[in-house]
């Protein structure tokens, strides 16, 4: 018995050593041309568009598409700032409109020279380096069972003290910054006053979108700051019209996600990178992105998206700041917000 016990134990040791020596993070051997795309975390996740895009693009190009995930858009930008032209990435995917100016300043990206006439974006302000691949509007999402008559403006929201909402911190999350810019764009010099009034109705300021939305779904508040397209998700899984987007008549702030080619790709496979960007504008890719990233399509494929996308309410008009303005004033705006909330 004892020998058997020792034998099993030794086997377990050997087995564990063998298991550990097989490094789980090894990259597969190079056989085809590789295109490396750096993107954000949820893009490449099991439910993100990454896996399906990889499959479809690889079938077309006879190459290997490697997605590498960074935390979020800001982390991608940090990478560009640190590595500059030394980056291993051929394509950077997931820079939103607020980050473009800083990304441009890294001088690590080059113009994509792709025909953008098929784009149907609501804003025409373009930089020839960045190619938009999806967009969405920020808005409040409310639970229509608890809140049959949602507010239609910030003033109405402030008047109805029973409505409480959850927002994200603009210092640590993109949607949070979206609310900050929305209020700033709408109220300009009165923004601080509006924040003072709004602060009475904030349940909590969550560190990120996922925490905020989790709290909302657990019934902690009547409204949460998110995207109009969140409504489409709930409709798609058969939750009917329980969760809806509240459209304010003052307009909705837009978020456009962009893809760009790095200077480093010139030495490797610029042509392939360009092909990938063209692929992103095809109907096939747009369908995948819209339905797993839950964003609008940037081409006229928007009209062919499933019914729950067609049912989405339209933004009354588009609010938008130039990337440079956001980059230069962000710190000031955040300070203004902080001071208004603390008082």
């Amino acid at each position: 018995m004892y020998t058997l016990y020792r034998f099993t134990l030794n086997c377990a040791y050997v087995l564990s050593i063998v298991l550990f020596s097989l490094n789980p993070f090894t990259v597969t051997a190079k056989t085809k041309t590789q295109l490396t795309v750096y993107t954000y975390e949820s893009f490449v996740g099991e439910w993100g568009p990454g896996p399906q895009l990889k499959k479809d693009f690889e079938a077309e190009c006879q190459c290997e598409l490697i997605f590498k995930a960074f935390g979020d858009g800001a982390a991608l930008l940090t990478h560009l700032r640190v590595k500059k032209e030394q980056t291993q990435a051929d394509v950077i995917m997931g820079l939103d409109n607020n980050l473009l100016f800083d990304a441009l300043n890294t001088k690590a990206l080059i113009p994509h020279t792709i025909d953008t006439s098929s784009l149907t974006l609501p804003i025409k302000d373009r930089i020839d380096i960045f190619l938009p691949y999806d967009y969405g509007y920020f808005s409040f999402i409310y639970n229509s069972e608890k809140l049959p008559h949602p507010p239609t403006s910030f003033e109405e929201l402030v008047q109805n003290k029973n409505i409480r909402f959850i927002m994200q911190d603009p210092r640590s999350s993109t949607p949070g910054l979206g609310l900050l810019t929305t209020v700033k764009k709408t109220f300009d010099t009165q923004a601080a006053d509006m924040w003072k009034k709004l602060s009475q109705q904030i349940v909590t300021v969550a560190p990120g979108w996922s925490e905020a939305y989790t709290l909302f779904l657990k019934g902690e508040a009547e409204m949460v700051w998110s995207y109009i397209t969140s409504q489409a998700y709930h409709e798609s899984i058969g939750e009917g019209k329980k969760y809806k987007a509240a459209i304010f008549n003052t307009g909705n702030y837009i978020q456009v996600e962009n893809v760009a080619i790095t200077k480093a790709s010139l030495k490797r496979n610029f042509a392939l990178a360009k092909k990938f960007m063209q692929f992103l504008l095809t109907d096939k890719a747009q369908a995948i992105i819209a339905q797993s990233n839950w964003m609008h399509s940037v081409t006229d494929y928007n009209e062919k998206l499933p019914i729950y996308f067609q049912n989405l309410p339209k933004a009354s008009h588009t609010l938008y700041y130039k990337s440079q303005t956001v980059s230069e004033n962000k710190t000031l705006w955040i300070e203004e917000w902080q001071n208004a909330m603390v008082e």
Binding site: Y2, Y5, F20, N23, P24, F25, Y38, E41, S42, G45, E46, W47, G48, K68, A69, F70, G71, A74, A75, L77, T78, H79, R81, V82, D169, R171, S172, S199, I202, V203, T204, V205, A206, P207, W209, S210, E211, Y213, T214, L215, L217, K218, G219, E220, A221, S230, Y233, S292, W294, K330, T331, E335, W337, Q338, N339, M341, V342
Partner: protein, 547 residues
């Protein structure tokens, strides 16, 4: 096997593998890396911005607030932990006692996303406890605010305090109680004259750990705080490094935080180590407590039970009841889940092996310094230095590692998960050292003369004396460290560019893709796996090589 030991013995003679000089170097690893990271921060910080930052009202508010809430959380966690420890030590069922200790160990190392979900499931607007207690609670009651923050901090830290206190209470010499009975001590006298003196020496380091934790935990403060009024420096550091990429300001803020924590440390640093009096027992052995059936003990046990019920049991049960859905087993079919689990287990295993190794040598070095009168002062200072390392929070260590790897050694190529392992090991060694030092000291004072008289040194001493007797607490320490590393999110956030998916990251990925049900299911699995790890290590410690 015999040949293997022989080989080790030869190696020892050749390379002095177990010679003290080598040991001292390993011992220095921890403080040196801590202070090196501080040096990196100083070299990148911009001293002129300090005045700029301090002059802002906002920063003054958050520093005062952080200080206040951390102090309150620490005091309450320690008081709660005291009641829990007294109850645990009075329990007659040893199985229940061991189970409770596992749960206590687990709670301290729970990832914050799970703790947040658990507390919301119980005390949120639609939580079970809120609806059950709606009769007693005011209509406008909500978990958000200062009380929410303090509740969450007690949820994390009270179990740690209870665990550490239990260890001391359990090992009170039985003769004290015989004496107490002769002197007709009542329960209060027993607490005052027997328990308190043995708990007192741990109070300082424990309160330092809890204070640091509460002072710097930003996810909890943000979610339960309600407004940005309740926030802390840690978030500002995170913001400046991840979003604004303003390293000078981030480094300055990190430096300010470290300075504040150092001030707290100095207040608490008059630490004198007090060894145990009797041989240390396992938690599953019966404990003699004469006051078990007195009124005083009943009242204290009822308070402890209520604390346990409302702070530990209700949130943990609620998270299971609320999130148990049809997808519970469906998750197991996902290859991503298994990949994430495998990566997490891989990183955690390497961390545990590395930190157990470093911790053993650190303990051995500390012990050998302590037993000699001449070097005892050095040993006391070593403890002070190790305590100092608690002020380096995950964000600070991650920030400096980030700066170090990107600017100082950009050319050196090595697998990026090593960064995660190294950062996790730093905290693991610290925690393990803190949890094991009393036991190790006692063990050595009991068996050192024996092993010297038998001529057992180095590997032989480890094999014959240390390992069989210290296996149980060592495995327990390993289990805690393993789970800590399993749930780590901070260092992974900094170094996830390497494309690693770990289990907590996978949960965030699911949340961002609107897969809330699956994400909560993954949270439940993470809790189950963590508990499973405690039980596996518990089984391991029972299996004897000399069976």
């Amino acid at each position: 096997m015999k040949h293997f030991y022989l080989l080790i013995a030869y190696c020892r003679d050749i390379c002095f593998f177990f010679s003290p000089v080598y040991l001292y170097c390993i011992t220095l690893l921890l403080p040196v890396s801590g202070f090196f990271s501080l040096y990196i921060l100083i070299s990148y910080s911009d001293p002129l911005t300090i005045f700029d930052i301090i002059s802002k009202v906002y920063f003054q508010t958050i520093i005062i607030f952080s200080f206040f809430q951390a102090l309150l959380s620490t005091v309450l966690s320690l008081i709660g932990g005291l009641f829990l420890a007294l109850m645990t030590v009075r329990l007659t069922s040893s199985r229940l006692r061991v189970f409770l200790l596992h749960v206590f160990s687990l709670l301290f190392v729970t990832p914050s996303i799970i703790a947040i979900t658990a507390i919301i499931a119980a005390y949120g607007k639609e939580g079970y406890a809120t609806s059950a207690l709606s009769f007693f609670l005011p209509h406008t009651w909500s978990i958000y605010g200062l009380h929410g923050i303090i509740f969450a901090h007690i949820f994390f830290n009270m179990p740690l305090a209870a665990r550490v206190f239990f260890e001391r209470l359990q090992n009170t010499p039985i003769i004290y109680f015989y004496l107490a009975q002769n002197l007709r001590f009542n329960a209060w006298n027993i607490f005052r004259h027997i328990d308190w003196p043995s708990l007192y020496p741990t109070l300082r380091s424990l309160s330092l750990i809890i204070f640091t934790y509460c002072f710097t935990s930003f996810a909890v403060i943000m979610v339960f705080g309600g407004t940005p009024k309740y926030t802390n420096l840690e978030l500002a550091i995170y913001q400046h490094i991840r979003f604004d990429y303003n390293i000078p300001v981030a480094a300055t803020l990190a430096l300010m935080q470290t300075v504040i924590l150092f001030c707290v440390l100095i207040l608490l640093s008059r630490y004198r180590y007090m060894p145990f009096k009797t041989p240390i027992k396992g938690a599953d052995l019966p404990i003699y407590r004469p006051e078990r059936y007195s009124y005083f003990a009943y009242v204290s046990d009822i308070i402890a039970f209520l604390l346990l019920l409302f702070i530990v049991i209700v949130p943990l049960l609620s998270i299971f009841l609320k999130n148990m859905n049809t997808q519970f087993f469906m998750l197991l079919a996902s290859s991503y889940f298994w990949k994430a689990l495998y990566n997490s287990l891989f990183i955690a295993s390497i961390t545990v092996i590395l930190s157990a190794f470093i911790c053993y040598f650190s303990l051995e070095c500390w012990r050998s310094l302590f037993i000699h009168g001449k070097t005892r002062l050095v040993a006391q200072r070593m403890i002070t230095f190790y305590n100092m390392c608690w002020v380096f929070t995950p964000v600070i260590i991650s920030t400096s590692t980030f700066i170090f790897t990107t600017f100082w050694i950009p050319k050196i190529v090595y697998p990026a998960w090593w960064n995660i392992v190294i950062i996790n090991s730093f905290f693991s060694v610290l925690l393990m050292f803190f949890l094991l030092r009393d036991r190790y000291m006692k063990h050595c004072s009991d068996y050192m003369l024996l092993s010297q008289s038998l001529g057992l040194t180095g590997w032989k001493r480890f094999k014959i004396i240390d390992y069989p007797l210290l296996r149980s607490p060592f495995y327990m320490g390993c289990a805690i460290v393993f789970v800590l590393s399993l749930g780590d999110i901070t260092s992974v956030t900094f170094f996830r560019e390497s494309g690693i998916i770990t289990l907590p990251l996978y949960i965030y990925q699911l949340l961002f893709s609107y897969q809330f049900d699956l994400a909560f299911t993954a949270c439940l699995w993470l809790i189950i796996i963590s508990l499973g790890i405690f039980f596996i290590f518990n089984l391991l410690q029972k299996k004897s090589f000399y069976a």
